[in-house]
Amino acid sequence: MEFWVNQTFNGVSYAALLFLLGGGLTLIFGVMKIVNIAHGSFYLVGGYLGVALVAATGNFYLALLGAALAVAAGGVILERVFLRAVEGDDLRQMLLTMGIALFFQDACLLVWGGDPFNLRGPAYFAQSVKLGGFTFPILRLFMIAAAGVLFVVLWWFQEKTRAGAMVRAAIDNAEMTEALGINVPILKMAVFGLGAFLAGVAGVVGSAFMGIYPGLDFEILPYAFVVVIVGGMGSLSGAFVAALVLGLLDNFGKALFPEISYFTLFAPMAIVLAFRPTGLFGRA
């Protein structure tokens, strides 16, 4: 019993981490149809900035906000200066984000050196709450909460504001969207900024959980993509379900059959894609 409760909890919190990683990517991917290779870099920069800000201010939440806003600002600038110029060309956009990712990889190495950091959250992150005989580490609870908030923000953005639909319209047909009086350039900047913001949040929260070090950017990228791909491009609920399924699968896979732990993440992806090329919830 304890095993199952603990492992389920672990699985859910891991799913939260996956969703944190993939959330911003889903947005940028689904709404703007950009394969954003630089997503991992946003995460990395967010994490490093978080470490620096925690050291400077001593307040985790201040650091979280500050780092995420800084990354968002960076994202806005990137969109405005670079991505705007290659609009509408999937491959060239990917190439550009790849270049940006390489740049940040090296820049972070230059600024923060190669030693790993551990982002220290508030002291209570190291503690656990006891509930009905089970213990739940607070850090993991916090991750779940963060993922929850993130989901709500994204859901609100896509469902309750017209902005999501506007951007999708703009991707389909920018001219016609403008002709409806929609300021497409600002909108794209905002969406990309939001995506970067989410990556920054993920970077700070993720660093509190697993530390931060060079190379992490390209290490987490496949995880972020797996969530988006399995869920179905642009489907928020898809990403949510995918994160949950993958989190639990990975967790129980590791715990029960450690032999297959290489495949717990990528095998489901291959299977899903073989039967539903558009992902679980994607529409063609």
Binding site: L17, G114, P116, F117, N118, R140, Y213, S261
Partner: protein
């Protein structure tokens, strides 16, 4: 005497990518010694040509070719990744240039795939495993051990060496968990560690080690049991990030920043001036030693490195009585014989350190076994030795 041209040494280490810091530490250590002797050995200037190992072995091979054919180096050093070392070795051997591996740890480089012009002054996984197995059985009194190890060469070899010695003494390895090299969440692995184990062998390195040890601490494993970890799991460069979580973890490695010898203290002082950091990584220390040893060999041939055969024979015969990590010499397969220390993570004042609590002097890569017989067995791997008590 007529001015002789400089001795050219090529050095391949990662300068970009995930292991850039490692490469930088390697170079810092190596160059620290060279600068102490003003880049002059036996009256000849030394020219160090650095090349980036890059992210893939293919890169390292191209760089090695460049050093050989373009720069015409007389000796090649460095190499961090085992795969890169395996790939570079045949290329360098074919050209007849001596290769001194200063980090890459895979057993077979100096065992079943040993080659003529190759020497290694770092360490191997197997030899470390042997020491750990002995220590766990005799000193820690463990009888049942659970292993959690990274699923690649280093993990396999440390685990294999450990298991062989430990089980021959009478212990039992009752669980082996192989974790993918990139593992973001160790929670489930830690939760499934068998409770009946007397202790845990941890062969996870680098940043992942921070996560694993943190998880072991959170799950209470570290409060109940001892954890014996392969040295780089608590490398000095990780100590800040590890913080209090690692206190009490035992590790084994041929060096520690806290090693209390005059040579080491002097080295630590000097390297700190270079890096401006409180903590000195182990790769800096062993590369410093490597440079010492290479320089000594060159001195012994009077700077005549052009006579390849003689130079290389001298290189292999060279001994250093006192380096930061202790005495160094080379066995006839080209691998180093050196002390291995058992260390414990402690907090002294505001700083953490790996306190040396036990020394295994002059350890051979073959432990106490007969080399010829040892080499008849296949290399340690996931299933060798097989897990008979799992």
């Amino acid at each position: 005497a007529a001015e002789k041209p400089p001795i050219k040494i090529g050095f391949i280490a990662p300068k970009t990518g995930n292991f850039a810091q490692f490469g930088l530490d390697m170079l810092n250590g190596f160059k620290l010694y060279l600068s102490e002797i003003d880049y002059m050995i036996a009256g000849r200037k030394v020219e160090l040509i650095e090349e980036d190992e890059g992210a893939t072995p293919a890169n390292a091979v191209t760089k090695a070719r460049k050093l050989i054919e373009h720069d015409k180096v007389q000796l090649m050093g460095g190499l961090l990744m085992a795969a890169a070392a395996y790939a570079v070795a045949p290329v360098v051997q074919e050209a007849g240039v001596p290769l001194v591996i200063t980090v890459a740890a895979s057993d077979d480089l100096t065992q079943r795939k040993a080659s003529k012009y190759l020497a290694r002054v770092s360490l191997t996984g197997g030899e470390h495993g042997h020491v750990a197995g002995d220590y766990a059985y005799r000193k820690l009194g463990w009888r049942k051990v659970a292993v959690i190890a990274m699923d690649y060469g280093w993990g396999h070899e440390v685990t294999g060496g450990f298991q062989r010695v430990f089980e021959e003494l009478g212990g039992q390895v009752i669980q082996k968990i192989w974790t993918p090299v990139i593992t973001t969440d160790f929670g489930p692995y830690v939760a499934s560690l068998k409770p009946e184990a007397d202790g845990i062998l941890d062969v996870v390195t680098g940043a992942a080690s921070i996560r694993l040890i943190g998880e072991l601490r959170k799950a209470g494993v570290l409060d109940k049991k001892k954890v014996l970890a392969a040295g780089t799991a608590t490398d000095e460069t990780l100590l800040t990030a590890l913080g209090d979580t690692a206190l009490g973890v035992l590790t084994f490695l041929p060096w520690s920043q806290a090693l209390d010898t005059p040579e080491n203290k002097r080295f630590v002082e000097r390297i700190k001036q270079v890096t401006k950091k409180d903590y000195v990584g182990f790769s800096g220390a062993i590369n410093y030693g490597a440079a010492m040893w290479i320089a000594e060999a060159i001195r012994q041939v009077g700077g005549d490195v052009e006579n390849k055969e003689k130079f290389f024979q001298t290189l292999r015969a060279t001994e250093i009585k006192s380096s930061p990590r202790g005495p160094i010499k080379i066995d006839k397969y080209g691998h180093i014989i050196q002390n291995i220390y058992i260390r414990r993570v402690d907090k002294v004042g505001n700083l953490y350190q790996n306190t040396v609590i036990e020394t295994y002097p002059s350890v051979s890569q073959f432990w106490k076994y007969n080399p010829e017989e040892y080499l008849k067995q296949p290399i340690y791997s996931r299933d060798n030795p097989p897990c008979r008590h799992c």
